[in-house]
Symmetry: C2
Subunit: 331 residues, 2 copies
């Protein structure tokens, strides 16, 4: 069970040099089929695994990447993160890599610095980027390979994102085409690139229709529940007929509030949200929303990072697709 078998042991047992064994293992270099299979058979039988530290030392690689986990992720963000990491894991595992997590908040990224400076990783995946993102800036300066999930305002950063712009634009277009006139949008932190991108999509849809949106019906930086409550009051006052929510927690609150206030959805007001998440699973009415494939997003990010690490050229920006799921809330 506990035999720590090394390349030397194999070499000795088989009467060959460790160079030969190494060749058989890596598949690189010329080696006869006979010896190769002999070595492989022995390896298989004795369940040999090359020591990653030794290999790392020799090849200057750790076979680990870091995935950055924002400490202040809220409940709504976690399922997204979970699915992303699932996708990342799937592809890096294939390449013999493992994932080190690095918890950071927007100001303090000591953890990230540690793993980078200590050379414990070969690359980094950022799972959220802010406007003027400090961790991103740091990584860029450090020269370590990294990619960002989500959009960045810095075009030099390699980014993989859901096509939030088109998604929000198309969603808004659909709602406008239903004949609604007063459309409100509620979103989170306007320092997040994602918030801005979605808002641009929202605005663009109005342009598409030769209209312009009402600035009074745009509510960004709406993170805390109490604030959202008052926004909803305001929306009702202003006779809004459609509200687009940038996350499902907001949408959930809107629905709940409407129910309490005896406002009918979708008859009095239509509601659309941005994720097709479990939070809204059992809502009545069912909520129209966008559906992104987060696992795929993670997988693509990971694949891209692997390419960067291996010195391949990659596209600077990749967008992942989406679906719009029309449900009762906008009927």
């Amino acid at each position: 069970m506990e035999e720590k078998i090394t390349i030397d042991d194999i070499a000795e047992a088989l009467g060959v040099s460790k160079t030969t064994v190494s060749r058989a293992v890596s598949g690189k270099g010329r080696i006869s089929d006979g010896t190769r299979s002999r070595v492989l058979a022995y390896i298989d039988k004795h369940n040999y695994r090359p020591n990653p530290m030794a290999r790392g030392l020799a090849k200057r690689r750790t076979y680990n990447i870091a995935v950055v986990w924002p400490e202040d992720y809220e409940a709504v963000d976690l399922p997204f993160f979970h699915r992303c990491v699932l996708g990342v894991n799937r592809v890096v595992a294939e390449a013999g890599y493992d994932i080190i997590i690095s918890m950071v908040d927007s100001e303090n990224y000591t953890n990230l610095k540690r793993v980078v400076e200590n050379k414990k990783i070969d690359g980094v995946i950022l799972t959220r980027t802010l406007i003027d993102d400090k961790p991103a800036k740091y990584l860029k300066e450090s020269g370590i390979p990294f990619v960002a999930i989500g959009s960045s305002d810095d075009p030099e950063i390699i980014q993989i994102d859901n096509n939030n712009f088109e998604a929000c634009r198309e969603l808004t277009n659909i709602l406008i085409s239903k004949g609604t006139k007063r459309v409100a949008i509620i979103g989170g932190d306007s320092n997040h690139v994602i918030t801005r991108t979605r808002f641009r999509g929202f605005a663009e849809a109005f342009k598409d229709n030769g209209l312009s949106y009402d600035p009074e019906l745009v509510f960004l930086d709406s993170d805390d529940p109490i604030k959202i409550m008052s926004i909803i009051d305001e929306i009702i006052d202003k006779k809004v007929d459609t509200v687009i929510c940038m996350d499902d927690a907001i949408a959930g609150q809107v629905i709940t509030k409407c129910r309490n206030e005896m406002i009918r959805v979708p008859d009095d007001i239509k509601v659309a949200s941005f994720y097709n998440s479990t939070i809204l699973n059992n809502m009545t009415p069912s909520i129209t929303s966008l559906n992104f494939d987060d696992t795929n997003l993670g997988a693509v990010a990971a694949k891209t990072l692997m390419d960067v690490i291996n010195g391949k050229k990659v596209k600077n920006r990749t967008e992942s697709s989406y679906e719009i799921i029309l449900k009762d809330s906008t009927k």
Copy 2:
């Protein structure tokens, strides 16, 4: 910026041997204060960091631990996991360790096996244990240090857990003392140790009062929302006056359903839940629930694992405390 400085460079620059430098860095071995501070000054100035792979090779340590992340964690579990990992991170970072995540589901733990067999980690933290848990069994056989967050049926496994038994017992006791007679309990997967432990606490509280619970009012394995709906119907039929929910998602559904059916909480039926989570933050009425310190749980688990790795003796079972937060739903 990019100077890959090694212990040899320092030795040469300072005209000492690398042994001396090593001693200054590690703080071990006799060394004069003069040279030590000279070395340390140089290190500080040139921002030297020992290469962890080389150190790992020499000391047979990776300075990484694995935290196991169940792939099938649901939305309600993620905030718990997040807080746990936060706690783990805090203490392992202190010891120069990083966290590799290993995604497993109850049947397939290939990922975990990989990191263990490839010797990429020095220890493992399990964040959920099932009855007859396969990953736990595997780790035990592999001989690698590990601890489990949550309870296990195997007393040999080192476990760190919230005191779910006492918590559920005390909560039930309080509810019984309010004069309620027909108490129902709704819980998840009965293969999870946690579900059984809580149920034992529930049962014990009845014993404490010289009563016994009604088996017809015990609903375990209630994971999917549709099943829960019908359970709630049944509960109403059976004139239950109090319902204890083992997780907040269940509690949320109960409250919603009651509102829809015009059943008043707490007047017609009292509701208590198990976590003081954000899911229930904005519920009306506010929900009585237990409050566990998950971050501390993670921190204690990490501390314990560090001790095991360093060969210290540790307690086989540690329980973390809880609070009961009484709110409107059980008034």
